[in-house]
Symmetry: C5
Subunit: 299 residues, 5 copies
C-alpha cells in the first residue's frame, strides 16, 4: 500500500524509547548542560573554600510559573508553525490529486495527441510539488524535474524567479487552450482554475511560515530568562546539597533548554533536519500516485 | 432511530465508574507502576539498612509546573488529532449523504436502466467509505465491498494502488456520462464534482493524521522527564514516610504515565483499539442510511 | 422584539447570585460532598480515639497543578462541545432564514397555486428545524409538525428513518420542480441546493457531537484522580485541624466535583436539562420569523 | 483619513495609566472591596478581643491554581465573545463595502432614474447596518434611518418584526428587478445574493452571542469560589498581620473580583458601556464611506 | 531567489543571543527597572536605620499564578493580533499573485493596446498593496505609486477618502470593460471579482486589528497588578537579603514588565517599529514578482 511509504508510527519499548539519543534533543543541548556543570563546579569550589556564595532566597527570582508558561507559549507557537506547514502540504497533495482525476475525467480526448498533452499536464502537477519544495529551500530547478518536463518548459523555467507561480501559469494556459478547443466547459474550467489558485495560496502560506519567525523580542526575552534561571540555580542549592549541585544544575538546564531546542528545531519545518517534514518522500509519493493512476486508467 | 446504532453516552454511578478497569488505562500502565514499586522497594531496603539514600532537595529537580504543562500539551495534541479524525469522518458521512439526495433528485431517469445505474452509484458511495476505512488500516479490498460492486469494478479495483482515489474517479465518470446524456445540467455536475473533491480532501486529511506523528523530539523529551521524575521520587520521600514510599510512588507513576498512555492511545484514532473511532459501525450506518433512502423513495 | 423571546442575560445582585441553588451544581454534587463528609467523620473519629491515621506528606501525592490542568482540560472540552452545538444551531437558523427570503424573492409566481406551494415550502423549513430537534433527542415525528405538513408528507414521513434527510429531499424536489417550470434559473437552483447541503452538514455536526463522547479513558482517569485526591485529604488534615476536617473536605470535594459536574452537564447540549440549549424556543422563533415574513410580504 | 474617526490606541505614561480610574474596573468592584474590608475589620476586632478566629490551614481550602485557571477560563470565554462580535461587525463593514462597489460597477445605468435607484440601494446598505445595531439593542426603527429611506420603506418597516431580514429582502428584490431589466447577468446576481446571505449570517452570529450567555452553572460556581476564597482570607491572616488584614483583603478581593468584572463587562459587546464596541461610530463610518464613494464616482 | 529578500531566520551563538540589547525589550523597560531599583534603595535605607518596613506575608498578596496567567493571556492576545496581521498580508500577496496570472492567462489580447491595458491593470495590483500599507499608517498617496499609475488615476486618487476601495473599483471597472469587449467569459469575471472582494475583506481585517485595541479595562487591570506586585516586593525581601533587594527587584521588574512591553510592541504590527511586519519589503517583493512575471511571459 502506498500509505506505507511515508512515516509510520512505531512504538518502541517505553524504557529504551527514553534513551534514543539520536532523535532526542541531546545533540543540541549537551554543550549548554556542560557549561552549567562547569559553572556549578566553580561555585561549589568557592563554597567549599568558604566563600559566602549561597543565596537561597534567589529561588523566587524568576517565578517558576512565569518561566513555565513562557516555555509552553514558545512550544505552542513552534508547534503551530509545524502543523500549519504539514496541513499546507497535505492540502497541496489533496489538490494535486483532485486535479489529477478532474483533468483525466473532464477533458475530452479527440486525438492520441490530446492524451499526450493530458499526461504532460499531469506530470506538470508533480513538477509543481517539486518546485514548491525547492522554492522553500531556496533551491532552483533540479535534476529530478527533467524527465517530467518538455525541453521547452525545462529551458524556460531556468530564468523564472518564482517557479511555482510559473508552473501554475503553464497549467492555466493548458486549461485555457483545452477550453478553447471545447474539450471542457466553462464551469469546469473555472473550477479547476480555482484549484490552481488554492494551490498558489498554499505555496504562499508556506512562504509566510518560512519568512516570519516569532518576534525577536520574545525569543530574546525567553533566552534571558533561561540564562538567569540557570545561572542563579547553583547559588540557591550549594549550601544544601553541596557537590550534588553539579549534576542537579546540569539536568535542570538540559530540561529547560531542551524544550527551547525542540521549539527551534520544528519551527521551520521545510528543511532537511531530522524532525522536518519528509518533503522528498511526499513528492515521490505524489509522483507515484499520478503514474499509477495513469497506468490504471489506460488498462 | 438510526442515531442509536452508534456510541451512546451513558452515565454509570460515579463511584463504580472510577473502577472500570477495562476502559481505564490500567492495562497499559500497570507494568510501569509495578516497576517503580519494585524500584522504591529497593530504595526503602537500602534506607532501612542505613544507606544514605534520602535526598529531599531533589523535589525541585523537575518543576511540577513544567511537567504538568508538558503533559497537558501532549494531551492536547493527541486530543486534537482524535477530534480532527472524528470531524473528517463526520464530514465524509455528511458529504456522502448530500451526494445521495442530490444524485437521486437531480439526475433524470428516462429508462429503468437509468435507475439501476443510479442505485449502483449510490452503492459506490458506501464502497467509498469502506475503501477509506481499509486504506487507513493499510488493508486492501475486502469482502464487505463485494455485494455493492459490479463484477467489473470489483476486478478492476484489485490492482488499484489507492482505492478511494479510484472510486472517486468512477463516480466522476458516472456523473460525466449522465451529463453527456443531458440528465443533469452543468452547474449540478460541477457542484457534485466539488463534493467529490471535498471527499478526497477528507481522505487526505485522515492520511495526514495517520502519517505525521507528533515530532519525535517532543515525545522523547517528555519520556525522559517522566522517567527522571519517577526515579527521583523515592529518594525524596524515603526519609519521611519510609515503607509507605512504595504505594506512593506506584500511584504517582500510575497517574503521570496514565496521562501519557491516554495520549498514545487516542493519537491514532483509525485503528481497532478500545477507544478508537467506531469506523466499522459508521460504515454500516452509511450503508443502512442509503438503503433506507432508496427504499423510501421507491415506495 | 423577537430578540427577547429567547434567553436574556440579567444581572442579579452579586451576593445573592452565588446562592442560586437551583442553577448551581448543588443538586448534582451534594451526595458526593456528603459522602466525603461522612468519610472524614470516620477518620476524625479514629484519630480522636488515637489511631495513627494522620499522614501529612500525602498532600503531594497528586500534584495540584496536574489535577487543575486536567480539570480545565475537561472543562474546555465540554465547553467546546456546547459552543459548537450552539454555533451549529445558529447556522441552522441563519440558513433557514436565508432560504426563506431567497425562495420568496427568487421563485416566480404565475398562479395563486404557486404561492401556496411556496408557503408550503417555507413551512417545510420550520419542520426541518423541528425534525432535527427530535432527531437529536431520539424522538420521531411529533404533533407540532402536523399543522405545517400536508397529509401526504405527514404520512410518508412516518416510515422515514432519518427525518431531516427526508425533508431535505422534499425541499430539493420542490426546487427541482420549480426549476423545470422555469420559475428560477440554474444558478439560483444550485445556490439554494448548496444551502440545503450546508443544512445537512450542520445536522451531521450535531449528530457527531451527540454520538462521540470524550474518550472513556480520559473521563475515567480524571474520576480516579478526583477520588484519590478527596479520599486522601482527611489523612493530611486531621492532625492539624481535627474536627474542622469535616466541613473542609466537604467544601473541597464540592468544588472539584462541581467542576466535573458542569462539564458532564453541558457536554451534551441537545437534551432537556436546565443548562441545555433552548431548542424548543429556537424552533418556535424560527416558525414565528417565517410566519411574520410571509404576512409582511403579503401586505 | 477615515481611519482616524474610530478608536485610536494611544500610550499614556505607564505610571499614570495604572490610575485611570474611569476606564478601570474600580467603579464595578469598589463595593465588594469595601464589603470585605468591613468583614475583615469585624474579624480583626474579634481577634483583638481574644476570640480564636485564626485558622491558618484554610489557605489550602481553594487551591490557588484551580481558582486561577477558572478565572482565566472565564476571561477567555468573555474575550472570545468580544472578539467574535468585533469580527462579525468587521465582516458586516467589509461586505457592505464590497456590495457598494459591485452595485456601482456591475449594474448598468440606462436612464438617470436607474442611477437614483442605485443610490437608494447604496443607502439601504447603511440602513442595514443601523438596523442591525438597533436590533441588537432591542430597539426598533430610529430617526437616523429616515433620511436614508424612501417614505414607503420607512412606513413598511414600522411593522416588521426583524428589521435586518426585511432590509435584506428589499435588497434582494432590487437586484432581482435589475436582473429582469437585464442590467446585470445571472452570475453577478447570484454572487451579490450570496453576499447578502453572508450578511444575514453575520447578523445571526451577533444574535447568537447576545442570546447565549455562558452556562449559568459556570458563572455561579465561579462566584461561589470567589466568595469562599475571600471570606476565608481574614481567618488565615489575622494571626500574623493583625490590622493589616483589612487593606490586604480589600486589595485581594479587588484583584480577583476585578477579573470577573472585566469578563462580565465585555461578554456582551453590543451595548452602550464604556468598553463596548463603538457601533454608533462604525455605522457613521459606513455611511461616510458610501457617501464619499458616490461623490467620487460622480465627479 | 526572491525568497531571500524578506526576513530570514538566522541562529546566532545562544550565549550572545541573550545579550542582543538592540532587539530585546531593554530600551522599553530600563526606566521602570531603574525606578524600582531606586524605590528599593529607599526601602533598604529605611530598613537599615531601623524602620520596621519588612512585611514578609505580603508575598501572597498577588498570587503568582494569577499574575502569570494574566501575563500569558496578554501575551497571547497580542500575539494573535500579530499573526492575524501577518496572515492577512500573506493573503493579500497570494490574491494579488493569483490575479496576476489569471488576468494574464484569461483575458484575450486582440490589439497591442489590450496588452498595454493588461500591464496597467497588473501595475494597479502593486498600487493596491502600497495603498493598503499607507492606509494602515494613516498616510495618503505616496511617491512610490506615481510610476505605476496613469496621470489620470494619480490625479483622481488624490481626493479619494479610502484608497484601497477606490483602486478595487478601478480593477472592477477594467474587468467589466474587458468582459463587455468579450475578452473574458462571465464565470471568469465573477471569479476574479470574488478575488477582489476577498482582497477588500483582508484590508478590512487589517483595519479591524488597527482600530480595536484589547479592552481598556484589561490593560489597566494588568498594569495595576504589575505595579502592586513590584511595589510590594522590597517589603517582602528587605529583612532577609538586605541590600541585595535592589538588584533582585530590578531584575524581577525587568522580567515582568518586559513581557508586557513585548505585548505592547507587537499588538499593532503595521507600524515602523523594529519588530513590526516588513510591509515596505513585502510591497517591493510584490512589485518585483509582477514585473518578473510580465518580462518572463513576453520572452
Amino acid at each position: 500500500m502506498k500509505i506505507n511509504t511515508l512515516v509510520i508510527i512505531k512504538r518502541k519499548p517505553w524504557f529504551r524509547e527514553a534513551f534514543r539519543v539520536k532523535y532526542s534533543v541531546f545533540p543540541d543541548v549537551w554543550e549548554k548542560a556542560l557549561f552549567f556543570a562547569i559553572f556549578s563546579f566553580v561555585i561549589c569550589l568557592l563554597h567549599s573554600v568558604g566563600f559566602p556564595v549561597q543565596q537561597p532566597i534567589l529561588s523566587s527570582l524568576i517565578p517558576t510559573i512565569v518561566l513555565g508558561l513562557l516555555l509552553v507559549f514558545r512550544t505552542n507557537s513552534a508547534n503551530e508553525r509545524f502543523w500549519e506547514g504539514r496541513k499546507l502540504w497535505g492540502g497541496i497533495v489533496n489538490h494535486l490529486r483532485n486535479l489529477t482525476w478532474q483533468i483525466w475525467v473532464n477533458i475530452k480526448e479527440e486525438t492520441p495527441q490530446d492524451q499526450e498533452h493530458k499526461i504532460n499536464a499531469l506530470n506538470l502537477l508533480t513538477v509543481f510539488a517539486i518546485a514548491t519544495k525547492n522554492h522553500l529551500r531556496s533551491e532552483g530547478i533540479s535534476e529530478e524535474m527533467r524527465p517530467l518536463l518538455s525541453a521547452y518548459y525545462y529551458h524556460h523555467l531556468q530564468t523564472s524567479q518564482h517557479l511555482p507561480l510559473q508552473i501554475a501559469a503553464y497549467l492555466g494556459e493548458y486549461l485555457q487552450q483545452e477550453y478553447q478547443k471545447k474539450h471542457l466547459n466553462e464551469y469546469q474550467l473555472t473550477n479547476m482554475q480555482q484549484l490552481i489558485n488554492q494551490l498558489m495560496d498554499m505555496v504562499g502560506g508556506c512562504e509566510r511560515i518560512l519568512k516570519t519567525p516569532i518576534p525577536n523580542s520574545y525569543s530574546i526575552h525567553l533566552k534571558q530568562l533561561l540564562l538567569i534561571y540557570c545561572l542563579v540555580l547553583p547559588f540557591q542549592l550549594v549550601d544544601q546539597i553541596e557537590w550534588w549541585t553539579i549534576p542537579f544544575v546540569s539536568i535542570v538546564s538540559y530540561i529547560v533548554y531542551g524544550i527551547e531546542a525542540i521549539a527551534l528545531e520544528i519551527e521551520n519545518p521545510f528543511g532537511r533536519d531530522r524532525n522536518d517534514l519528509p518533503l522528498d518522500q511526499i513528492c515521490q509519493a505524489i509522483n507515484q500516485n499520478i503514474q499509477d493512476f495513469i497506468l490504471n486508467q489506460k488498462r
